[in-house]
Amino acid sequence: MGQEGHPPRLALEGITKRFPGVLANDEVSFAVAPGEIHALLGENGAGKSTLVKIIYGVLHADEGRILWDGRPVEIPNPKAARRLGIGMVFQHFSLFEAMTVLENIALGIDEKVGWRELQERVVRILEAYDLPLDPRREVHTLSVGERQRIEIVRALLQKPRLLIMDEPTSVLTPQEVERLFDTLRQLASEGCSILYISHKLHEIKALCDTATILRGGRVVGTCDPKAESARSMAEMMIGGALRDVSRRRGGEFGQDRLNVVRLSAPGEGPFGVPLKEISLNVRAGEIVGIAGVAGNGQNELLAALAGEMEGAEHGAIFLNGKACIAANVGERRREGMCSVPEERYGHGAVPGISLSDNAVLTARYRMGLTGQGFIRYAAAEDFARNVIETFGVRTTGPKATAGSLSGGNLQKFIMGREILQKPDILVVSQPTWGVDAGAAAAIHQALLDLAAAGSAILLISQDLDELLALCDRIAVINGGRLSQMMEVEGISIERVGLLMGGMHGENESPPGGGARERRNAA
């Protein structure tokens, strides 16, 4: 797609950005041609977000320059970026739940436009790109895919010549991803350049013309993704050989370790999703997956199982056959259930205290880290050191604060802390969200080893690839309801996708109970 003679739409030359103690971007240079779909590929912390924020005028480079159509430009703020013709769709949407689509769009644009004219322009864009979206609907009734379309329309209203998409598919169902790709291809064919940020290799192979790969803030390669294999790009991205994680299937499972019968619970927060009569079982040695788009009751399910709801649940939960709906967190942990929540900072761990103190947080029940009301600091430190060594957590030691660890390392610590307690049942939510590929592989292996040792694992994840690679059975959660369990062997991805989108088949989907925006930030 290299148009000779045309200057590139956007060119970065030697962009460097320093934060205290970190070099986020180091002499980054690359160019995006008109009409090109250009992937920016890299692990978490590789510097993608910083770079994109510099392009969109949110941050400012310490060194280097930006060329727009061949001319050097200063982009002091996002408004200036939009005036140049740069549009951006953020990973996390900023929409008002209680307002309509059109009202949200009107709030998000810079120019003053009459109501009627705005409506006409929105409808024209929706038709031109075949985007199914009703401008009069209120946002809280929309699915995540529809919400993303609002952001896209917002960006398209400015007639962008470069559209930046930041991890756009992380909350979409497979069907919604296909639809998004069609829109992006149509835009590119009309001459709009697209900068597509992702770490999902098969998507980049399917969509992009060129890929620039970032690692540790530097450009480590540029390639044609269609000519590369997903594996070769992944290895460039992590800078080493990829570890294989594979699941032996068809094993014999033991007895039910976790049994949930018609569990209902209220939603957490004003836009929480109540759980409705969820039933499932996990046997010894088995990994059961819960798929679903974020904000469909996953957080509530984890809280209800772990006992964090303080008695608001109804139904029955059996741990190793023992009823424990009335038990609190500590009693459930002593009974053999451990859990890992999705949010690491402030939920799974406290950033401001040491790893040793973070070990006391949940391991005190099963590992004897307290006695007669006193904390046994020496024992806690030993346990934390054991976790650090066993799980290869990169840190200065048990006295380091949890907040000083990278996301991936902290997640390894949290996983290690729960796994070393030898739980009979482990409930995990999004264990590899925002974690680099190396840490993700280590976490996956640890889960498989734990299951092989006879524990039952309930894995809640939005990442279908992860679920298909690890789980024996999968169910889909949508609007607080759980679909039927499906064996992973011979599963239909299309069916899973439809279930994620709210098609319940035998169960009627409740009105307005659609997928909700991901509310907790990564």
Partner: protein
């Protein structure tokens, strides 16, 4: 050259200790400036307030007597503040504690026995507990903000005091003055150091500081308080109940405030009068923060604030500073402490004009912040 603030990667431990001293120093400087501007002898005022109480050994016992209630109340408040439970009404709990103890004293008036004083102290603690239990109940049951309820209950307590002094508890032989009988020798605190004003409350305050230190640093309860304050969601995950922590924090601070109240009534006052409240409950908030919510820091901060009480009285008599001056100094201390606290998380940097492109650095990031939802606002 411009000054600018740069975020530190980790909070500075050194600054954690330096900033309280810095706040005291800035209070002194600002005090000199303000009193000079008002036409007083500014330097003399500072000398009277901060130096005289320390220079005169005879006044030292006064310092301990004033510091004791401040330390006892602040220790309890620190437990709550660590857990993000904001008991602002220690003054009210202090008054009600003192009233409850006084009630026992009046009921046992004319009796003799070693049981009387312990009974008064117990009643004092229970009185403070009960007064703090009201905001705790409202908070845990109806989610009512404890800052408002505890503060408003202070004024209820003051009115209760006035009513009892002018009505049922008025000394029948007191020439119609609104105050109670003087307590008997069975009802007053013994001197801890014979021949001085230093009463039993002083060593008790120091002992309580040590106990609080051990509890906060070494026990599961102290850990719970810290985790609930730092990360409520993580606390829930760890099995710590937010509701029980609210009760714990309010009852602890209420009980200790009540204890300080009855010590003050049975010690320096030896009776109950409408002049009993002297804002120890509010000043203790400053003590808790100046002491960094750490028991040993609180002992030091309690002494510093005691100096300002004693010195303030000095300055009133010697150079005619108004009574409000003491309160002003205490307020400035908290104000400056909160202001310089920014240095714990940020460092000051001088940046030269040519060092970086200034227009880029001074640009606020508000437009971007408005579009990207912050995690706090999104999950609220």
């Amino acid at each position: 050259m411009r000054l600018r603030l740069e975020a530190r990667r980790e909070p500075s431990r050194a600054m954690l200790y330096v900033t309280p001293a810095l706040a005291v120093a800035m209070t002194v400087l600002a005090g000199i400036f303000i009193f000079t501007a008002m036409g007083y002898d500014g330097l003399g005022a500072i000398y009277q307030i901060f130096i005289t109480p320390l220079a005169d050994p005879y006044r030292w016992q006064d310092l301990f007597v004033k510091a004791a209630p401040l330390i006892i109340i602040a220790l309890g408040l620190a437990v709550g503040f660590r857990a993000n439970v904001w008991n602002i009404g220690a003054e009210g709990q202090y008054i009600v504690g003192a009233l409850a103890g006084t009630g026992v004293a009046l009921a046992s008036w004319g009796m003799e026995g070693y049981w009387i004083l312990p009974a008064m102290i117990l009643a004092g603690i229970l009185g403070g507990l009960a007064w703090a239990a009201i905001p705790a109940f409202l908070k845990t049951r109806f989610k009512v903000n404890e800052i408002l309820t505890s503060l408003m209950l202070t004024y209820v307590a003051i009115q209760l005091l006035y009513y009892l002094m002018r009505g049922p508890w008025k000394d029948p032989e007191g020439f119609n003055f609104p105050q109670t009988r003087l307590f008997t020798e069975w009802q007053t605190l013994p001197a801890a150091v014979p021949g001085t004003l230093i009463h039993l409350g002083v060593p008790v305050a120091l002992a309580l500081a040590v106990v609080a230190w051990v509890v906060l640093a070494r026990t599961v309860t102290g850990f719970q308080v810290r985790i609930v304050g730092l990360a409520p969601q993580a606390a829930r995950y760890a099995g710590f109940s937010a509701r029980r922590t609210v009760w714990l924090a309010l009852l602890t601070s209420g009980g200790l405030a009540g204890l300080a109240g009855i010590f003050e009534a049975a010690g320096p006052f030896q009776q109950m009068t409408p002049q009993f409240p002297v804002n120890y409950g509010f000043t203790a908030i400053i003590v808790a923060f100046l002491g960094r919510l750490h028991p040993l820091g609180i002992v030091l901060a309690g002494m510093v604030l005691a100096v300002s009480y004693v010195g303030g009285e000095n300055a009133q008599t010697t150079i005619g500073l108004p009574y409000a001056a003491t309160g002003m100094f205490q307020a400035m201390m908290l104000f400056f402490l909160l202001a310089v606290d920014v240095l714990v998380r940020y460092r000051l940097r001088l940046s030269g004009p040519g060092a970086a492109r200034p227009h880029q650095e001074s640009r606020p990031q508000a437009p971007a912040a408005a579009r990207t939802p912050a995690p706090e606002s999104a999950s609220a």
